[in-house]
């Protein structure tokens, strides 16, 4: 022990030390840089994580103890970023109303609403403008349609001035510096938000320029009161207040969007199980998902094992050639395989109907039952080679003496399989079967590429199909159509996670009992 611990100190050469310091120094420099950038952007939490992470890593690799941590730190960093963060973020989203119309912060939503409520006065003229500056306050030097010059700033309404004209346009006025277009580029936000009142009376509207060259008369349909955090419609006087669900709500309950993202507690979970249009599909999609995953594991395992038993028989000739052919679907990219199958199963133009069945018209992908069978068959084709490989390996790992002894005792082939090979196989294969189940539970690729979840269930209130599994349903809720609901989709994901985790835990418990038997 002492030897091990003191060894690094003794043997750490100059070169190693320099390399170590260089790399850690680089890492820390990067962390400091990132931290500074993040702090300037206001992301304090992430900045703190980066800095603390860098300190922890530096301590781990400079310390002479902490040997296990040196090996584990990289893995833990990966785990934190690619697993813990992703899962944590999904959980967080599931408790928010993050969806179409609720993606902004409240301040941004107010900004967007005010911007969208700017109306140009009908039939009002356009004014060519020069942006001018005095004491770093911006103003607009306007050439009125009648050719006179007017000047105003955000605080003082337009008033006539004597200006220097060039090509009929007022370009300069005493006491102000005229800004060229290039000068505006550095302060675009200021220019863009500059509103010069036309007159003392606010209802006359104000002059704004969007491009720094031409100004128009605008009135704002909404006004925001920061103190009470309410929006008021300047025409009707209706007041919109924060309804508590991430949007401003009028007196009659109408929401105006864009709204913003808020925490909604368990709302998404409640909706998933209580809203009839979602609950109905959710129940049978869950049932089909479990059936799909279980049946897939069953048939893939059965075919893989059967093939493994056949090709494991030494009396069979040309085994190697057959085995290579068997493994082909596994070597073929699964995406491509699924898409090719989808094309081959097409009703009137597909290879299966046209060539194999001689012009039959079987609705492989459009009949609810046949579509289910089709996806299972494609999944079988894609999945069995892997199971065949694993089963072959597991079979060959069973000691020859065990079989020899059984044969001496006079067992039949069936008895040997049933009582000797299968139990021994299951010990090594049970974890793989559980993994296959979990994989197929979320086998989005096959469903999406073969049937796209179809045929559509015309009776359901959400766009769900007869072969949709939970994960493809989540995809449709979150990423298709004009009404995305990321919060609801995240809630579904968590439900899926719980189901898969529960089934896996139970299965692994059963596997342990299996091991004890042997």
């Amino acid at each position: 022990m002492t030897d091990l611990r003191s060894a690094p100190t003794r043997s750490t050469g100059m070169g190693t030390l320099v390399a170590k310091i260089t790399v850690l120094g680089g890492l820390d420099a990067l962390a400091v840089f990132l931290g500074a950038v993040l702090v300037s952007r206001g992301d304090y939490v992430i900045a703190a994580l980066v800095v603390v992470g860098a300190i922890v890593l530096t301590v781990i690799y400079l310390s002479e103890r902490l040997l296990p941590a040196k090996y584990m730190a990289p893995g833990l960093v990966f785990l934190a970023i690619f697993q813990v963060f992703v899962i944590g973020y999904t959980v967080y989203i599931a408790f928010t109303n993050y969806s179409t119309g609720h993606i902004l912060t409240q301040d941004q939503a107010v900004e967007a609403l005010l911007s969208q409520s700017q109306r140009r006065l009908p039939d009002s003229p356009s004014y060519s403008v020069t942006v001018v500056e005095s004491n770093s306050q911006l103003g607009l030097l306007v050439t009125a349609p009648d050719g006179t010059a007017l000047l105003g700033t955000a605080d003082s309404p337009l008033r006539p001035v004597d200006a220097t004209f060039q090509d009929g346009q007022a370009v300069a006025v005493e006491g102000y510096t005229s800004l060229r277009f290039a000068d505006l580029l550095g302060r675009q936000d200021e220019v863009f938000s500059l509103a010069v009142p036309l007159a003392d009376d606010a209802s006359a509207g104000s002059l704004r320029t969007l491009d720094g060259r031409t100004a128009y008369q605008y009135t704002s349909k909404l006004s925001f009161d920061p103190a009470s955090e309410t929006l008021t419609d300047t025409e009707t006087g209706e007041v919109y207040v924060d309804g508590g669900e991430g949007a401003f709500v009028g007196e009659d309950g109408t929401e105006i969007l864009p709204g913003w993202q808020v925490n909604v507690g368990l709302d998404n979970f409640t909706r998933a199980v209580s809203e009839p249009s979602i609950r109905g599909p959710l129940v049978y999609v869950t049932a089909w998902t479990i059936a799909f995953a279980a049946l897939s594991v069953g048939i893939i395992f059965a075919l893989g094992l059967l093939m493994a038993l056949l090709f494991n028989d030494p009396s069979m000739r040309g085994r190697t050639a057959y085995r290579i052919v068997m493994v082909l679907p596994y070597a073929f990219p699964a995406f491509l395989g699924a898409m090719v199958w989808s094309g081959m199963l097409s009703q009137s133009f597909g290879f299966i109907n046209q060539v194999v069945l001689g012009g039959a018209s079987i609705p492989w992908l459009t009949d609810p039952t046949l579509a289910k069978i089709s996806v299972l068959m494609v999944n079988l084709w894609l999945g069995f080679p892997y199971m065949f490989l694993v089963a072959t390996g597991a079979l060959q790992a069973i000691p020859g003496e065990v079989r020899e002894a059984a044969r001496v005792d006079g067992t039949s082939r069936w008895q040997m399989l049933r009582h000797i090979e299968l139990p021994l196989l299951l010990i090594s294969m049970a974890p793989i079967l559980i993994a296959t189940f979990a994989f197929n539970f979320n086998n989005f690729n096959v469903i999406y590429l073969v049937t796209g979840g179809g045929p559509r269930d015309t009776g359901a209130g959400i766009p769900v199909g007869q072969t949709d599994i939970l994960i493809s349903l989540v995809y449709k809720v979150a990423f298709t159509g004009q009404n995305r609901d990321y919060g609801l989709a995240s809630a579904f994901s968590i439900i899926i996670f719980i189901v898969v985790a529960a089934i896996s835990v139970i299965s692994f418990r059963r596997t342990k009992t299996l091991e004890e038997i042997s």
């Binding site: 690094p8 952007r41 040196k70 993606i103 969007l210 009137s348």
Partner: protein
């Protein structure tokens, strides 16, 4: 011992890589922070523009010219059109989005509901655009999009098979059949239907989707889809239990294959497929869509254009680039020359109409109406195609259409 040293170095390297990856993941890419800090450096301003990858080349020259004119660099970023809208919505408000994004006018509802685009002001230039382009770019009375190209369906005819345009739908089928090819007429459908491609026939029976309010905006409370029973009956007659001229087995790829190999006489499609047909050696003529009903067959018009990010720090430059530069005749003609789609500016559209194919699409789009961009339209899409597909496949037209109308109405009411 050797292992330990190695692992120190390797671990440190990994950690650096991971930290870098992690930070760029959770916050922002370095490129984005460049854009946001650009205004402070003042000397140069860079506009980041996301465009559909297929049109990136068309804009490259315009970007270079604009920089030469104003000193504002324009960084054209080619994006996959299928993910552009979602990425824009996600990133616009985070500060890492582009200053300008290219898209279709029917995104307007979603983009404004999410509050990620800023209004434009076309000023006196508004009347210079094709009426349909201006109509499409206006949402709830406000212009949000600088229109750049107008796309609509038209009837492509294999002029070697059929010499004359068809007078109406039945005439087209008769002419196509007389030409002796396998398919007189093909139109893209698929097992979930394709209402966009059937819409001209639906309007021929006087059944648009939504009515319009006094200001001319589509009104979600006036669902006029239900007037389409006559269309549904006609569609049933063209389906698998009738004349079989429209089939859900014909996908976009199959339709393209049949026409480009000369096995179909007529193809109802958009300008995006013309090149494939011409390249395949087909003598393509572009006609207006023959109507099966008493009214003209009006296709949907899709207007491509540019939006300004509400949270951009370069809104003045962005507005200048769009309104004062991309909205000019020379630039629109130049964009047409590299893109081949009808310009949205009237003068530019007239200038390029000497091309018979463009003139054909322009003529077919005379009656085109903008595809509704209101969020309620999303509810229509969810049910529309499925209902049409089942009518084509022999479902009772009256009952299916009534069910469709009821489903859409309840989905709109429920949302």
């Amino acid at each position: 011992m050797h292992m330990t040293k190695k692992s120190i170095a390797a671990g440190a390297l990994l950690a650096v890589a991971v930290l870098t990856a992690g930070c760029s993941n959770s916050t922002t890419t370095p490129a984005a922070s460049d854009t946001s800090s650009a205004p402070e450096t003042n000397a140069t301003s860079t506009l980041t523009v996301w465009v559909d990858a297929e049109r990136a080349d068309a804009l490259a020259q315009a970007a270079t010219d604009y920089e030469a004119q104003t000193g504002i660099a324009v960084d054209i970023v080619a994006r996959d059109n299928s993910t552009l809208k979602d990425d824009f919505i996600q990133q616009a408000s985070s500060g890492s989005g582009p200053d300008i994004a290219m898209g279709a006018h029917d995104w307007l509802g979603e983009l404004t509901t999410n509050g990620v685009i800023a209004p434009l002001e076309l000023g006196d230039k508004a009347s210079d655009f094709l009426p349909v382009a201006l109509d499409a770019s206006t949402y709830d009375g406000i212009v949000y999009e600088l229109p750049y190209a107008v796309e609509n369906l038209a009837m492509l005819r294999n002029a070697d098979l059929v010499a004359e345009p068809a007078a109406n739908f039945d005439d087209m089928i008769a002419k196509g059949t007389a030409a002796g090819v396998e398919f007189p007429f093909v139109v893209e459908q698929g097992e979930n239907g394709n209402p966009y491609h059937l819409y001209p026939f639906q309007t021929a029976f006087g059944a648009p989707v939504f009515g319009r309010d006094a200001a001319g905006s589509y009104d979600p409370t006036q669902l006029t889809l239900g007037d389409g029973t006559a269309f549904a009956q006609w569609l049933y007659g063209q389906g698998s239990k009738g004349a079989n001229t429209i089939s859900t087995e014909i996908t976009g790829d199959i339709a393209k294959e049949k026409f480009t190999t000369g096995q179909a006489a007529f193809w109802l499609t958009g300008p995006w497929n013309v090149k494939a047909a011409v390249d395949a050696g087909i003598n393509v003529a572009v006609d207006a869509i023959p109507s099966p009903g008493s009214e003209p067959a009006q296709p949907f018009a899709g207007v491509k254009g540019f939006f300004v990010n509400q949270y951009s720090d370069n809104k003045v430059a962005a507005n200048d680039f769009l309104v004062n530069y991309l909205g000019t005749v020379d630039v629109q003609v130049a964009l047409f020359e590299s893109g081949g789609v009808l310009p949205a500016l009237t003068a530019a559209a007239d200038a390029v109409s000497s091309d018979p194919i463009i003139a054909g699409f322009k003529a077919a789009g005379m009656d085109a109406v903008p595809m509704p961009a209101i969020p309620a339209m999303g509810r229509v899409w969810e049910f529309w195609g499925i209902a049409e597909a089942s009518i084509i496949n022999g479902a009772d037209p009256d009952a299916t259409w009534a069910q469709l109308t009821a489903d859409v109405q309840s989905a709109i009411d429920g949302s």
